[in-house]
């Protein structure tokens, strides 16, 4: 049974009997499941945060590069616009 199934009002789950006997009681079992799930959530959050840090760092690097790239193309554009004027002037002289 899925514990996340909202149709189940009691939220019962199946536990392997050997595991249940090893743990000893339902109360302990519930506590272990909760600790396990909390650990899993912590691991998942740590990964998400590490991923966010990496993605932010990558964007910061790209953001630092872009102004130089923009300036380079702006310079090339200015030069190309100047050349266009010359080319048009030469073309008109035909």
């Amino acid at each position: 049974m899925n514990a996340g199934d909202e149709r189940s009002p009691t939220h019962k789950i199946k536990i392997p009997r050997d595991l249940y006997e090893e743990v000893g009681s339902q109360e302990k079992m519930i506590r272990l499941i909760k600790v396990g799930l909390l650990s899993l959530r912590a691991i998942s959050l740590e990964r998400e945060n590490a991923d966010l840090i990496k993605r932010t760092e990558d964007l910061e690097i790209r953001n630092a590069e872009l102004p130089h790239e923009i300036a380079r193309f702006q310079q090339l554009l200015e030069e190309a616009l100047k050349d266009r004027k010359t080319l048009e002037r030469l073309d008109k002289k035909r």
């Binding site: 909760k34 790239e69 702006q74």
Partner: protein, 133 residues
């Protein structure tokens, strides 16, 4: 065949609403395999519930700050990328126009030395070296 026919003996236990909420948050289903893994993770964990809940709260707060910071940087990146793409495209368009104009110049003879020099330079730039631009 023996393994295939062997059934795991199970018992049903009632979970707590917190467990239900956590499984939803983690988007997992508590089937037998998952239950075994989660219980062993619970057994291995050196932390108590209260410590884990405190650590989770801290991690959630950290995530909130990271997401907020990421959004600011991503927004800056969007603006910069847009400007970069715009400038590069404009340069590309002007260069292509210049190439066409330079091709027109190829079929005519220059008037004078200065005009000839200019013509040759522009033909060199927009036709001969176009691919290296």
């Amino acid at each position: 065949m023996q393994l295939r026919s062997a059934r795991v003996r199970c018992i049903l236990i009632e979970t707590s609403p917190e467990i239900v909420a956590l499984t939803k948050e983690l988007d997992i289903s508590l089937n037998l395999k998952a239950v075994r893994k989660i219980i062993s993770l619970g057994m291995e964990s050196l932390n108590q519930e209260v410590d884990l809940e405190r650590a989770l709260k801290k991690l959630e707060e950290e995530k909130g700050c990271l997401v907020s910071n990421f959004r600011i940087i991503a927004s800056q990146n969007g603006q910069l990328e847009s400007k970069y793409v715009g400038t590069r495209s404009q340069f590309g368009r002007v260069s292509r126009d210049n190439r066409v104009l330079a091709m027109h110049l190829c079929v005519r003879s220059p008037r004078g030395k200065r005009e000839g020099q200019l013509r040759d330079e522009l033909i060199q730039k927009y036709i001969m070296n176009y691919r290296n631009m």
